[in-house]
Subunit: 196 residues, 2 copies
């Protein structure tokens, strides 16, 4: 049953999350006040605390929204069932591009581990970007394309390297050039792991 009240409620919740994503991206978690969030969403703190248990919960909702959108755009790239190596390379490129999105970079890469705590962040990432990356690495190992080092660890290292690379690109004075360098370096590292 889809009542009108429920629609209003969902709309309010969505407005709060959108506002949160926007402000957390611009000013960070600590720099964003809930008063600002509710003001931009044209509601009050009563609404916020009705939908979320607190600031942390609101952040996690913003986190989930950004990650969900990312997953959608990434799976579209990966779902093609061509040569595993080609697919993996395309996925890498797509992920680096994603990391350059301000929302993703600020909320997911930089703030989330601190705000949610590294342990909880890691757990949440299992179902999102990191989970996807690990499956990709697993595919490459299964296909015999790269050495079969422990997948979990390999994925972690790659994840860290990619995030760091994306941050470097984003704050570079010549993003285009740095972007090419990062891509080439990552590909070169993968080539180094490739079985002949």
């Amino acid at each position: 049953m889809r009542t009108r009240r429920a629609e209003y409620s969902e709309s309010t919740r969505q407005a709060l999350v959108d506002s949160a994503v926007d402000l957390f991206t611009k000013r960070g978690y600590a720099g964003t006040s809930l008063d600002e969030v509710v003001k931009r969403a044209r509601v009050t703190k009563g609404a916020l605390y009705h939908h979320f248990s607190g600031k942390q919960a609101l952040f996690e909702a913003a986190f989930a929204q950004v990650e969900t959108q990312s997953i959608e755009s990434l799976t579209a790239v990966i779902s093609g069932d061509g040569d595993p190596w080609e697919v993996a390379v395309a996925g890498l490129r797509a992920y680096v591009r994603k990391c350059l999105d301000p929302e993703y970079q600020r909320i997911i890469v930089h703030e989330a581990p601190v705000v949610m705590g590294w342990e909880r962040w890691r757990e949440a990432e299992e179902h999102f970007s990191f989970g996807l990356l690990r499956s990709a690495v697993q595919l490459l190992v299964d296909a015999g394309e790269i050495e079969d080092l422990p997948v979990e660890v390999m994925a972690r290292l790659l994840f860290g390297a990619l995030s760091s690379g994306a941050s470097t690109i984003a704050s570079s004075s010549d993003p285009k050039r740095t972007g090419r360098d990062v891509e080439r370096a990552i590909l070169r590292v993968l080539e180094g792991l490739r079985k002949k």
Copy 2:
């Protein structure tokens, strides 16, 4: 001229920084109140705001202290002038060990980029751990040990991978095993970049 007054003052400042390092490590930046810091240092906020312009400045002092200690222990490892490759490997091992130190991991790796802002963190790191790592990479390239990809980018990627790897080890249920896996994986990546 080393007056007694200056010694007292320096001692007070040091007590504040030590207290800050300890509390920031245990509870993080946001979770640490300045009242706690000054209480543990057995002074008041007046003293704190005499020595530091605010909470951020106190954090940066803590950051500098932890990094300075790290630099000292790392340069000791690297300063040996043996085979560049051996020195680099020893340096990598030493850095991963450093990342497992709670103070370093929490303050430098996790909190600093968020608290100081990524840009400022990057700038500060030029004179500390990252600067050291980049020189090490530069040495390997100059010695013709690895491919001469852009050093800056390579160092960034390696830095991110190492930090991520260290976090993985620290939160692993079997740190010893994970530690070995991370070391092996990193070395394997470097081998892949090695010129034949």
